[in-house]
């Protein structure tokens, strides 16, 4: 399935993932598409920050579906 990444400048990128793809793997795909290193990708999905959990959180764990949009920020935030 395809998901879309929108960066701070409003540029859109398309990334191919599966339900079993981990957040870490997706970040590597985003790096290939955008050049933004994994450590500096802060991804937001439906208003919630997507965090990598040890053991590998997957698309399924975050209920990510085809054509979902991620907002990618290059700023650290927390809650």
């Amino acid at each position: 399935m395809q998901v879309f990444i929108i960066d701070e400048d409003g540029k859109k990128y398309c990334v191919e993932v599966e339900k079993t793809t981990t957040i870490a793997d997706m970040k590597t795909k985003i790096y290939d598409a955008t050049g933004m290193e994994n450590a500096y990708q802060y991804l937001e999905h439906r208003g919630k920050i997507v965090l990598e959990v040890h053991g590998g959180t997957t698309m399924d764990d975050y209920k990510i579906k085809a054509c979902d949009i991620f907002h990618m920020s290059d700023r650290m935030r927390g809650g």
Partner: protein, 399 residues
Amino acid sequence: MSALCPVCNLTLPLSLIQSHVNSHFEDDEINPQIETDHHLALQLASDDHSSDDPSSSSSASSSNNVASLVQLQTKSQFYSVGHGGLICLLRNCLESELKLKSKPLECSTSLLSGFVDHFQSSKEDKGWGCGWKNIQMQCSHLLSHREEAKRVLFGGSNFVPDIPSLQRWLELAWNKGFDVSGALHFDNRICGSKRWIGTTECAALLRSFGLKARIVDFAPEKSKSMYLSVPGSAIAPKVKSYGPMDRYMVKKGGSGKGKAVDSHSSNSSRISKGAVLMEWVWNYFSDNRLSVSSGVHITNKGPLYFQHEGHSRTIVGVQRRLQGTTFTPQYNLLILDPADFTRAIEIALIEKRGWEGYLKRGAHTLKCPEYQMLYVDNGIADGEELEKLKTIDSHFVEF
């Protein structure tokens, strides 16, 4: 191990099930109607004061917004610690520790910020409010220690506002042109929202009052190539600094943005990354003085807003132990976490038992790939200096 969600019957790993079930009972946003009503109330309040002249300037409407916000803002409720406050209690504990644990070849020095109130997370802001709580801690110090800050902060109200009021102040800061790119991330709206914030939002808020909030980035050495302003780089601008996270991205023929790099701050091959950050904090509180006598000292420095991905805390001091014959420095950060209960910290400090678990953090705990700090310099900016503060820049320390 996996478990079944009792609400939607979804099978999830055990580690995720609790937060998943909780998410069924959480609203993503506070009622948007309340938010809209509040904006209308603000509008009406500012209309009352505005002149009949339709050509009145935008700066006039901005000052009307400020005036109405000063009237509408609410004081934050928090547990007030007795015995002179948490910092005073912490000082007592550190002094007692000094007497008890002093070894012949050990020299211990602790440096603390002045008065800071602890603002704990409540049921209402659990899971999203840590940034706001740390802003409140920062402001509690500024209001108690800096006369110039007391005059300008929150319209001179002399109290720390609650989160909804802070959100309105941040929106006002964005409307004034502070951190335009950061504001875009939130579509210029934060009132009533549960979205996470970070150091850049704190900086925008404080800078809008003329306070000189500074951000420091701690990032690994391997990301050196991500920055244009690395010393020795053929294309490095000498003293230019840009947005705190605006990294240079290597692309075909691409140009990027850089930031000021502190080449002297660390030597990663020499000391661990935890020690780099600790040393920076020590230098901040000691004001770069080479020799500080052992003991516990209250400095004139403010606390540090301490951010990593997913959470933020407030550093209120640092402890350094010089150990052995080589006098190797060993550091502990002294940290207030919004996730902890103020009363529990107070009891631990009064009883001088278990307080280390709440407040002390060694270098080994610094496991994140990147950190950010925010501190507030002395003085109030105006004119051209205030205009420059609208662009949030940062200082880069190799980590």
